[in-house]
Subunit: 452 residues, 2 copies
């Protein structure tokens, strides 16, 4: 151990990874293939290219190349906010009186407020390369929509965002950030798509869902020449782009000869967690590292811990390919009392496979636990964390407390995906003691899974 570890380990710009890491190439049990929803046969690059950019469709299905070069324009954009710091949580360690060392990779130092920008800039770049007019997407809590708006503005293409209605109404400022970057934001369900009109007709009062917004964004891309669809999580291509988080973390830890004992990330669709752990899982599979990996999901949307590992639809409208994943059923909608992101019914197929192979663990935590950890973290480490990220903070704190009780030194690493500046309504509820810890009943989950 190096006693002289700085508060923030900043890599040099020259240490910025030149290639993304594709864990699938090194996995023994590969994730199950995507299936065409009509033929139920594995999706081809050609089929996926109707929705996604060609290059991204190829990345989606690539199970052989462990490294995929990052194009220079993307690397230059990365230089505006990367390498991201790996921060030693000295003050949190002291507050918990733990012998453990806690490190967090902080992805919030950019205007999108999260790691989402890492994939957004890649997807906007390939869209520009393909000569497209623009991209369409959905956004829930808003980080992904913001990130894609910024990336689209940078490359001068249009960005059409379908924003889950309750979020659109609760977060006018988040919406205004996207407007400022020139994006066109519509509340979803909207009257602009067939699926939107259908859902509005069937459920006039609905506040929307991520699955429905995805369907609208895909339909928009299919019906508007010059547009393709971009997704911020779940997909292999997104985890690939997000591997930059893990690669930088690994370089920083290696530099100080720190061996992680446990790596923790929050899990919604899995993009941050997958990106963070991928390079480390690669090492573990090669027998070079002994380390636990922990996914932390909200108790209100527990796809890994209470879902089923089966083929399911990625979206409500069932226009996307089928994916084998831990899922609560594509019709599952988390309670409206749930704050922030991590509301997706399923989970990245890659992470689902790792979980099924017991390479990765998973736990679920309640909102009160999450916000309690968030406030402690804010007051000791300074940064006001996003509710999503705070799932990982809670789990990291629990591990640190366990180390204290066991009198053990361990190196705990977690992903701090972003900041909570646009989540003050939820913080306000917690500060006022009005947080709702609703957890779905077994019957509710069973009913949703039976629709599969």
């Amino acid at each position: 151990m190096n006693a002289d570890i700085p508060y923030k380990i900043y890599l040099d710009e020259k240490e910025l990874p030149k290639a993304w890491y594709n864990l699938r190439a090194d996995m023994i049990n590969k994730p199950a293939p995507l299936l065409n929803p009509e033929t139920r046969q594995p999706s081809t690059v050609e089929e996926l290219s109707q929705v996604f950019c060609k290059e991204l469709a190829a990345q989606e299905l690539d199970e052989t190349n462990p490294y995929i070069e990052i194009p220079e324009p993307i690397r230059n954009f990365y230089k505006m906010y990367r390498p991201a710091p790996l921060i030693r949580a000295y003050f949190l360690e002291k507050a918990l009186n733990t012998p453990a060392h806690i490190y967090y990779k902080f992805e919030g130092n950019n205007t999108s407020g999260s790691h989402k920008l890492n994939s957004a800039i890649a997807q906007a770049y390939y869209a520009k390369q393909e000569g497209l007019k623009g991209v369409s997407t959905e956004t829930g809590a808003g980080q992904w929509g913001t990130a894609l708006s910024m990336a689209s503005a940078f490359f001068g293409i249009n960005c059409r965002v379908f924003m889950v209605k309750c979020s659109y109404e609760q977060k006018p400022h988040r919406r205004e950030v996207m407007n400022t970057y020139g994006a066109y934001v519509t509340p979803s369900p909207s009257m602009d798509t067939e699926i939107g009109r259908k859902i509005l007709e069937e459920h006039p009062g609905t506040s929307g869902s991520l699955g429905c917004a995805i369907s609208e964004a895909v339909e928009f891309a299919l019906n508007n020449p010059g547009y393709k669809y971009a997704l911020g999580s779940v997909l292999n291509q997104v985890l690939l782009h997000q591997s930059i988080i893990g690669l930088e973390t690994m370089t920083a830890l290696d530099k100080y000869n720190i061996k992680p004992d446990v790596i923790i990330g929050c899990a919604g669709g899995g993009s941050n967690l997958g990106g963070l752990i991928s390079p480390f899982v690669g090492r573990k599979l090669k027998g070079e590292l002994d380390c636990r990996f922990v996914a932390v999901e909200p108790a209100s949307c527990p796809s890994l811990t209470r879902g089923k590992y089966v083929y399911d639809y990625c979206d409500t409208g069932r226009v996307c390919p089928l994916q084998k994943m831990y899922t609560l059923g594509s019709g599952f909608i988390p309670s409206s009392s749930h704050s922030g992101g991590l509301r997706y019914h399923g989970m990245s197929s890659l992470l689902s496979q790792l979980y099924d192979d017991k390479i990765m663990e998973a736990i679920s935590v309640t909102q009160s636990e999450v916000f309690g950890a968030a406030v402690t973290f804010a007051r000791t480490e300074g940064t006001l964390p996003a509710p999503e990220s705070s799932h990982a903070i809670y789990a990291a704190m629990q591990e640190a407390i366990r180390c204290r009780e066991e009198g053990k030194h361990e190196n705990i690493v977690f992903g701090l995906t972003g900041t909570g500046y646009f989540d003050m309504l939820a913080y306000g509820k917690f500060n006022a003691g009005q947080m709702n810890d609703y957890v779905p009943t077994d019957a509710e989950i069973e009913a949703s899974l039976q629709q599969l």
Copy 2:
């Protein structure tokens, strides 16, 4: 010139300054002394200590020591978010097609969202050292209140914030951030102080002003044993703490052998600008540097460019010492159409002296100019800037355009004091084409100045 300048120049933690720089020690014409409002004699440390912490009162009047050591607990806190990056605006240069090189010192990578934290942590530290129960303060746009809340939480003391009423109402999320850090926030004018009650009686519908909130916070500190008052700008002590901005900038520029030709900062009370330019002005006074310094103020609150250099009160209630400064009169209240900070009627006495000595220039810009520059900056450089900071962006862009027209290479440095996440209401107005560029008339300014 070094062709190999990275996008972000990050100093090593070991390069973090160990002392603040006190420009007054090197000034030939010192700023005029503070005057006791009752005796009209120069204020003493004893008198100032009734309101401020003793150590801070001493710093306020120190004109002899060029360097004042930064206590270790403050340096450790700084390490959580400092050294702050000096960023080369490669993409903005390209967008402006300018031969100039543009650099900005970015102070927004912390939860307070601005440079204010640099002084807040110092003031909270000295309060803790003095064994105080807490601090009281005012806040306008909210950055300073947030910063002092964070700093107070870190050292475990109370923080009482009087928030200008219009801001309190328009920015509930900003207020919630302060609550999350355990601060107690009251809209000002309030019924909690005599001056607040008096103002409410005279102007029942008032939306408050910074000068009034200052008076309330000072009164609160005077009437509540165990409390002292903290101010986020204008004072010498604040410029001293903020010199860390300029010291880091200087180290970063020196490292790459870059000589600045012009250094630009937005100016409200002067804390960011003073902190940024102080070390460079010191060099200029010693004949070691030839460089212009430019203060950029809002056209709606133009203390340097249209004010008078006289003794005036720092607050509406006239309880604070008198200060010789460029001022619009302590009764001046900028139009309610003005967005963000930089609403103070006066200016740091140190900067006022530099301006009067023609060592520093000043310009004023309208809101539309400011937000236009902000949107261009956001779309090219990624970061969504605070409206305050965007005054400096506008001026830097004008200098870069001048360089293009004159075919000249110059090194332009400006301070990007913070981010605009809590200013989306103002961005929204601009995006909708509803920005109000009201500028006070000569008669209005004359009337305000006649009350001196």
